[in-house]
């Protein structure tokens, strides 16, 4: 029909928007700007792909439909089939020669933990020669790892499952802050703690989870977002909710009461403990969208300390990588920008799923920690809505009128606006063995989005 429009959206010359307004009709003006250099033609090709709209709708729905239940805690050797000498790490694939300081440090500590060497320093030769050791991304094994993300066979893993499909994802147990393996530290105290986690904490959590029954991690995420956590750099409410669920079964596990008390103290004193559940919950959701032909949705963002890589629903398991950036933020003690390693870790999976930096507005308490102000935080979450396909009705932000978090990063929208995903992150020391030096904000290297777009365009052309 040809009824009078009540509203006009105008993209382009303001003059035409003005002319509509002069006729007393409401106008929404799009603040259009040229896309990233050289992407016009690929953008048009992908926009015209007849598969795109439905593929993206399916990808978004698949991600949002997943619920993640914590169903078990068990060694990586059992649940991932890792064998002696096999090492998983964060980010896209990398070899020892290009590995950054913190990744090297974590691998060296991991080798000592597994008894491949007595002194972590001796592991350098092992990795240089590649004799009896192999490296592989966590993402290739249904797992995610924070920071260096190193996983060895004897480490205990959280096991998350989507009850509708039985699919599973995994993540190691969080070690706390400061001098820890995931930040590249490998001193004797680091290894002592990891052994205690292997001998005491892991088995106790296994009994507790098996005794309590599945724990609804997605549900806890829903609540913690309302309680001031963005589930990347702040997980305090989530950690306490997990303890609330597991503490009774831990106490009645029959294990030594001093060990139980120590475990409760360790988890309760580690505000990041829940991060290692948020991450695999996000991966579980995003993996549901993998391999959807024609979809431009990002299903993983991950860094290995050298490269930043993304994977996209419509491009299979291909990684699009560029140099990882150094975060901007605040430093611990005397550390400064020269001490920081480029961005590292699989934890950007939280942003990929719409929390972390994307949900900054919900976590005013961490805004300063990552070097921002409250208005910046609100603006950041709003800005991320410009590059995402939709909202998550389950995860909402009270201060934004309970608007759902921005969900499903769209490669085309990033190329069109030049707005890069905002990531909240910790910073590891550049030198192996140092540990954490700060926390801050970082974005992916811009070039990887046009690269992914070019591949999507190539696939589109091959279909037509």
């Amino acid at each position: 029909m040809t009824t009078t429009p009540t509203h006009v959206i105008s993209a382009g010359a303001d003059l035409f928007a003005d002319a509509v307004a002069a006729q007393a009709v409401d106008v929404t003006r799009v603040d259009w700007r040229p896309p990233m250099t050289g992407t016009e033609s690929d953008l048009a090709t992908v926009a015209a792909d007849p598969l795109r709209r439905d593929a993206n709708a399916r990808a978004l729905a698949a991600m949002l439909d997943v619920s993640a239940m914590l169903v078990d805690v068990a060694p990586a050797s059992e649940v991932l089939g890792l064998e002696r000498g096999q090492f998983l790490h964060a980010g896209p694939p990398i070899e020892w020669a290009r590995a950054s300081g913190p990744l090297r440090g974590a691998l060296m500590g991991g080798a000592a933990l597994e008894g491949l060497v007595d002194d972590p320093e001796d592991a350098v030769r092992l990795f240089e020669t590649g004799d009896g050791v192999s490296l592989d991304p966590c993402h290739h094994h249904a797992a995610v790892g924070p920071m260096a993300g190193v996983v060895t066979p004897s480490m205990w893993m959280f096991v998350l499952e989507d009850p509708a499909t039985g699919r599973r994802t995994h993540c190691s147990l969080n070690e706390g802050l400061g001098k820890v393996l995931r930040y590249g530290a490998y001193s004797p105290e680091v290894l002592t703690r990891l052994r205690w986690m292997r001998e005491v904490l892991g088995p106790l959590l296994q009994r507790a989870v098996r005794g309590t029954g599945p724990v609804d991690v997605t549900g806890i995420l829903t609540q913690m977002l309302q309680m001031g956590d963005e589930a990347h750099n702040r997980n305090r409410a989530g950690t306490l909710m997990l303890l609330r669920d597991l503490a009774p079964a831990m106490v009645s596990s029959g294990m030594d009461s001093a060990d139980v008390a120590e475990s409760l103290r360790f988890v309760g004193g580690n505000d990041h403990f829940f991060l290692n559940l948020a991450m695999p919950a996000c991966k579980l959701a995003l993996d549901a969208a993998r391999g959807i032909e024609g979809s431009t949705m990002v299903v993983a963002m991950a860094r290995n300390g050298t490269d930043f890589g993304i994977q996209v629903a419509g491009t299979g398991d291909e990684w699009f990588t560029g140099p990882a950036q150094v975060a901007e933020g605040l430093y611990l003690g005397d550390y400064g920008p020269d001490d920081a390693n480029p961005d590292i870790g699989d934890s950007a999976i939280t942003e990929t799923a719409g929390i972390g930096g994307f949900a900054m507005a919900t976590a005013p308490a961490i805004v300063r920690l990552v070097g921002g102000s409250v208005p910046d935080a609100l603006a950041t979450t709003r800005r991320m809505h410009e590059i995402t396909l939709g909202e998550n009705p389950r995860w909402t932000v009270p201060v934004l009128e309970f608007q759902g978090v921005p969900s499903g990063i769209d490669v085309t929208r990033v190329c069109r606006t030049g707005i890069l995903p905002q990531i909240n992150t910790g910073m590891a020391g550049r030198v192996a063995g140092v540990g954490q030096v700060g926390a801050g904000l970082v974005t992916p290297p811009a070039d990887i989005f046009p690269a992914a777009l070019a591949r999507l365009a190539e696939l589109t052309r091959s279909r037509s």
């Binding site: 959206i9 035409f16 926009a47």
Partner: protein, 481 residues
């Protein structure tokens, strides 16, 4: 960015990488800077090929590294002028241009049509971004289930087909690309004349053709409820009337529409036949104004519509009188309206022959608008050519159009008048406008007549008059027509 010593040169060119503003905004910025004391000439523009050409002609040297993504600021100072002040003027004008009338500063505006549509209820989408990006924005509209008008030109026919096929699958309407004019339920979009609602519905594969009909019907007292532009290529053998069909279907379904008029630049014959056959399946009668050799001109088409509706055909107004030619033999048509230019060319070809050297330039053509505002907004290029035509001893008569309505220049008559007054050749002007247009039809006509022009409301009548004047200096050639 380092700026050169202000005393060292009177000509200044700088590139601003990563800065962007649309061509209309930059036109306003350029004008504001031209008004700064001590500035002799100023041009702020994106460094597209055409704009570099314009800047070069103005005597500026644009660095060879400039790309279409760079903004060029070019300033020539008058004696004693201050570059400092001129550049401050640039920055001020750019800042002013970015200031929105509604000050919802807290919430950043949407960056894509997709997100704007997500937060907006039932809306129609108007896309006027550069052609290479138009498909992407327009596809957002279709994805959100909205009709879209694509004003942008320089859009490939492949992109047009992708949009129109998608729209056809979803029952949506794509007006354009290169759709200059639409009236949807009384709301004018792009360049549209202000008309009263009424019994006529127009489907237009021609922007200024549509405007000519709107203006003539309005003068005859017949209102138009909707005029749906479909883009100049819609009736080509590639696009095959995809949008024309949907627009006709909608007008047929509108009980207010008693007669549908389809106006188009010369269509592909077989497509025209298909559309005529489709018209026969509709309940509402359809009149056709398909331009082409031997076909009725737009004014005759408007007269046929009036007759078909049982209305009287009025006398189309003429004001002023062109002087007699004093030399030269050629007709120079300088148009902002593409269809008006084609109409004039067709009429002249019939009367004067095709290879006689008469020229009909359409400044709205893609070649003149890549990275530049449409001549209905930015008169610079036409004014430049007008001066050249006036100085050319071969020119016998100059024929112009002035198009009024929403979106067009706020006061074209005042801009043209001093230039026309200085020309000693006969001037015939077609003014396409209505009494309701924001520029004021009467004011515009008065300014043009005052500058010595003979002003017609009908482009065809203006053209015939110009032909007559040319023939008066070469009677032997005109006799055969």
């Amino acid at each position: 960015m380092s700026r050169p010593d202000t005393s060292a040169s009177t000509s200044h060119v700088e590139l601003r990488s990563g800065a962007y503003a649309d061509s209309v905004t930059l036109l306003q910025v350029s004008r504001a800077v031209q008004g700064v004391d001590g500035v002799a000439a100023a041009q702020v523009a994106m460094a597209t090929g055409l704009n570099i050409e314009v800047l070069t002609e103005m005597g500026f040297e644009v660095p060879p590294t400039a790309t279409a993504n760079d903004m060029v600021v070019a300033i020539r100072l008058a004696e004693g002028g201050s570059l400092e002040a001129a550049l401050a003027g640039v920055d001020r004008a750019l800042a002013d241009a970015n200031r929105r009338s509604d000050s919802t500063a807290e919430v950043a505006p949407h960056r894509t049509t997709a997100t704007a549509a997500r937060d907006t209820g039932d809306a129609i989408v108007l896309v006027s971004v550069p052609g290479a990006s138009a498909l992407v924005e327009a596809m957002d509209a279709l994805d959100a289930g909205r009709d879209v008008m694509v004003f942008s030109d320089n859009v490939s026919v492949e992109d047009e087909l992708a949009l129109k096929r998608t729209a056809a699958e979803r029952g949506l309407l794509v007006m354009g690309p290169d759709c200059g004019t639409a009236v949807v339920g009384g709301l004018g979009l792009g360049f549209a004349n202000a008309v009263d609602p009424g019994p006529v519905g127009i489907v237009a594969a021609s922007g200024t053709g549509c405007q000519q009909l709107l203006a003539l019907l309005d003068h005859a007292g017949v209102g138009v409820t909707s005029a749906l532009g479909v883009g100049g290529r819609d009736l080509s053998s590639e696009v095959r009337g995809l949008a024309t069909r949907e627009a006709m279907r909608r007008l047929d379904a509108d009980p207010a529409v008693e007669l549908i008029v389809v106006v188009s630049k010369p269509p592909a014959d077989d497509v025209a036949a298909e559309i005529r056959a489709y018209a026969d399946t509709l309940a509402t009668p359809v009149s056709f104004a398909l331009l082409g050799a031997g076909q009725p001109d737009l004014t005759e088409a408007a007269e046929a519509v009036l007759t078909r509706m049982g209305r009287e055909v009025p006398t189309w107004p003429v004001c002023g009188e062109a002087a007699a030619p004093t030399g030269g033999t050629l007709l120079r048509g300088l148009f902002v309206g593409g269809t008006l230019a084609s109409e004039a060319k067709l009429l002249a070809a019939a009367a004067l022959g095709t290879d006689a050297g008469h020229t009909f330039v359409d400044f709205g053509d893609d070649a003149y608008t890549a990275g530049r505002a449409h001549p209905m907004i930015d008169p610079t290029l036409r004014l430049d050519h007008l001066a050249r035509a006036a100085a050319d001893p071969d020119t016998a008569v100059i024929l112009l159009d002035v198009v009024l309505g929403h979106g067009a220049e706020p006061d074209p008559g005042t801009v043209l008048a001093p230039v026309l007054a200085a020309i000693d050749k006969p001037l015939v002007v077609a003014v396409i406008g209505t009494d309701g247009d924001p520029q004021g039809l009467e004011t515009q006509v008065r300014a043009l007549v005052g500058a010595g022009a003979e002003v017609h409301m009908s482009n065809a009548r203006a053209t015939r008059r110009a032909i007559e004047l040319v023939q008066s200096v070469q009677p032997s050639q005109g006799a055969s027509a």
